[in-house]
Amino acid sequence: MNDNSYTADRRRLLKVLAAGSAAAALPLGFGTPAFAANKRIALVVKNLGNTYFDACRDGANEAAKQLGGMEIIYTAPTKPTAEDQIAVLDSLIAQKVDGLIIAADDANALVPVGKKAMQRGIKVISFDSAVATGGRLMHLSASSTPMIGAKQVQMIAKTLKGEGEVAILSAASTMTNQNSWIAAMKEEWKKPEYAKMPLVATVYGDDQDDKSYREMQALVKAHPNLKGVISPTTIGIRAGAKAIMDGGLIGKVYITGLGLPSEMKDAVEKGACDSFAIWNPVDYGYAATMIMADILGGASAKPGTSVKMGRLGETKIGDDGEAVMGEPFTFDKSNVEKFAKIF
C-alpha cells in the first residue's frame, strides 16, 4: 500500500512543484541590464566572495565610469575549477560580449574556450593568473619578478637606514615564484648601497603559520644582531610579525615583504613592520579594463606594442605576450588602515 500512497503524494507534489517553478522564474528578470551599454566587458575571476577580486571589480567599474558607454559583467564560477569556469565563459561567449578579462583557474584548460571566443570576434586578455599563450591576446602581470625582488630589499634598507643583518623567511624551498623573487632580491643586493646590510640566512616556513612563527623565533636566537627580515609571502610575513610582537622584539627587529593590509594593519600600528608591499587590486582591475578598452578601440596588443592603462600610464607587451602593470604598491602607517578595509 505504501506504493499507492507514494503515487498519490507525488501528484500533490507535482502541483506544488509547478507552483514553485513559476515562483523560481520570477527573479530571472533581475539579471538583465537596465540599459543597453555600447560595450559589454566581462571580468571573470576565480571565485566570488573574495575581497581581493571584489577590489579588482571596483577598479574595473572605476575605469568603465571614466570611459563611459561600458558595462562590466563581474562573474566567477561557483567552484574554482576549470570545468566550472569554462561553463561561465561559454555563457558569456553565447551572449556575444565584446571583451573577456579572465583570472584563470587553470592556465591550459582555458585555451580552447579562449580560442573559441577569439574566433567569434571577442577580445580576450588575462590578469592575475594567466591563460596560457594561444588562449588570449595578452596577459597583464601585476608586477615583474625583478621589481618585486628589488622593492623588498629597498623597503628593508629604508627601515634600517642601510645598516644591519637581514634574513629571508620564505615559504617552501620548492616554490618557483618564491625562489625567483629571492634570486631577484640577491641581484638587487649586489648594489654598493647595501654593503653594510648583509644577508645572513634564508629559512623556510612552508607557508604554514606555526612553522613560519617557529622559524622566525629561531632566526632571532641564531643571529643576535639580526635587524631585519624579508618575507615574500603573505603567511610568512604575518606569522613573523606576530613572533616579533609576542617576543617583545618591537624596535629591535623589523619585518617587511609581501602582505595583505587587513592582516598586517596590527603589526604596522604596533611597529613590528615599518612598510610592506603588494599590488593594489583596485589599480589592477582598473588597468586591465583600460587595456581592454584600448584593444576594443583598435590597439593590436601584439608583442612589442604598447597599450594604455589610463591614469597608470602605458605598458609595453613583451615577447611572451605579457605586460607588467608596475612596481608593487607600498603600504605603511599612512595608508594601511584605509586599504585594510578593502583587502
Binding site: Y6, L13, L17, A18, A94, Q95, P112
Partner: protein
C-alpha cells in the same frame, strides 16, 4: 504493484461460478493519470524553461549556443544514467567524481608518455571499470551501506590522484584526442560527441530498464531486495554489475572531459557526484528505490542544463543558480513527506 488492478468483477451472463475478482492485464489509464505523470510535469517544466529563456534572452535560441551548452552537462548526464539504476535499486555511488579524477590521471600520465589516443580511451574506461568493480565488491561482500563505502572510496580514489599529482597538471595530449572533446562530431546540426553518446546511451538504458527482464529485476530489487532474492533474482550479482557499470561510465566521462579541457588536475570534476544525484532525483527516481524512468532522468538533465544555461546567460551568479536548483531539489524530495504529514494518506 501499480500494474495490477484488483477490481470487483462485472456480473457475468454465463452460468459458470462467478470469480470474486478479475485481474486486469494492466491498470486502467485515465487522462488524469497521463497528465499527472512525473514525466509530463517535467515536459511542462522544460517547455516553461525554454519559453521563459527565449523571451528573456535573445541569445538562448541559437543552434550553436545550445550545442555549446550541451558540452557542459553531457558528461554528467552520462554518469546520471548509471546512477539512476543504482538509486533505483536503493544504492548510491558517491565516488564517481573521484573515479573520474583517477581515470583522468591515468589518461594524462599515459598521454605525457606519448601513448596513442585509442589506448588513452581504453585506459580511462579500464580504470573506471576497475574502480567501479572495487565499489561493487566492497558493497556486496561487506554488506556495509553503499553510501558509506563510496564516501570512503571517494576519499581513497581522489586521494591517490592528489598524492600522485600534487599541485602539478598534466597538459600534453595528442591533437586527435583533444578533437574528440573540442570539435563537433557532427557538423550539421552541431552535435558534440559527448552529447551524442549521452543520447545513444539513454536509448539503450531506456530499452534495457523498461523493456527487458533485467529491467524488471532491477525494479523488483528496488521495491524489496529481500523479496527479490527469494524470487530467485541474483541481487548481489546485479548490484555488483551496476557499480561496475557506474565506474565504467565515470571512466567514459573522464575520457570526454579530459579531451574537452585538455588538462588534468587532482581537483578535476570536483563535486560532480552531487550534480549527478540532483539530475537523477529531479528525474523522479525515488531515493527509497523501486520507482523511476530513464525518460524522467533525460528530461531532468535538459531542465537542469537549460535552466542553468539560461540563468547564466542573464549573468545570474553561479551561487544564486545553485540556490535555485537546490530549492528545486529539496522541493522534489521533501514535498511528498511534508504532504503526507499535513494531509494524511490519500
Amino acid at each position: 504493484m501499480t500494474d495490477l488492478a484488483l477490481r470487483p468483477s462485472q456480473p457475468a451472463a454465463a452460468p459458470q461460478p462467478k470469480p470474486r475478482y478479475t485481474v486486469a492485464d494492466r491498470a486502467p489509464r485515465r487522462l488524469s493519470d497521463f497528465l499527472l505523470r512525473w514525466e509530463t510535469i517535467l515536459v511542462i517544466l522544460l517547455a516553461a524553461v525554454i519559453i521563459g529563456n527565449t523571451l528573456l534572452s535573445p541569445y538562448f535560441l541559437d543552434l550553436y549556443n545550445l550545442a555549446d551548452t550541451t558540452y557542459n552537462f553531457s558528461e554528467k548526464a552520462i554518469i546520471a544514467l548509471g546512477m539512476a539504476l543504482l538509486i533505483l535499486v536503493r544504492e548510491i555511488d558517491l565516488s564517481i567524481a573521484a573515479i573520474m579524477a583517477l581515470a583522468a590521471l591515468a589518461i594524462g600520465s599515459l598521454a605525457a608518455h606519448g601513448v596513442a589516443p585509442p589506448l588513452l580511451i581504453l585506459a580511462g574506461l579500464g580504470v573506471g571499470l576497475l574502480c567501479g568493480a572495487v565499489n561493487g565488491l566492497l558493497v556486496t561482500r561487506t554488506g556495509v551501506p553503499s553510501i558509506v563505502i563510496t564516501i570512503g572510496t571517494m576519499s581513497l580514489f581522489r586521494g591517490i590522484a592528489q598524492v600522485t599529482l600534487g599541485d602539478q597538471a598534466l597538459t600534453t595530449y595528442p591533437d586527435s584526442y583533444l578533437a574528440l572533446g573540442q570539435s563537433y562530431f557532427i557538423t550539421m546540426p552541431p552535435t558534440p560527441l559527448s552529447f551524442l553518446i549521452f543520447l545513444v546511451l539513454a536509448i539503450v538504458f531506456g530499452v534495457v530498464l523498461h523493456g527487458t527482464a533485467i529491467g524488471r529485476q532491477l525494479f523488483a530489487i528496488g521495491a524489496n531486495p529481500v523479496a527479490a532474492r527469494f524470487a530467485g533474482i541474483r541481487v548481489d550479482r546485479l548490484r555488483f554489475a551496476l557499480f561496475t557499470l557506474s565506474g565504467l561510465l565515470a571512466g567514459l566521462a573522464a575520457v570526454l572531459l579530459t579531451a574537452r579541457i585538455g588538462v588534468v588536475r587532482p581537483n578535476i570534476a570536483l563535486g560532480w557526484e552531487l550534480d549527478v544525484v540532483t539530475m537523477v532525483v529531479l528525474g523522479g527516481v525515488a531515493i527509497s528505490g523501486g520507482v523511476g524512468t530513464i525518460l524522467g532522468v533525460v528530461l531532468a538533465v535538459f531542465v537542469l542544463g537549460l535552466a542553468t544555461f539560461g540563468l547564466s546567460l542573464m549573468n545570474v551568479p553561479g551561487i544564486v543558480i545553485n540556490v535555485l536548483l537546490g530549492l528545486l531539489l529539496i522541493l522534489s524530495i521533501a514535498a511528498p513527506i511534508v504532504i503526507r504529514r499535513f494531509f494524511g494518506r490519500f
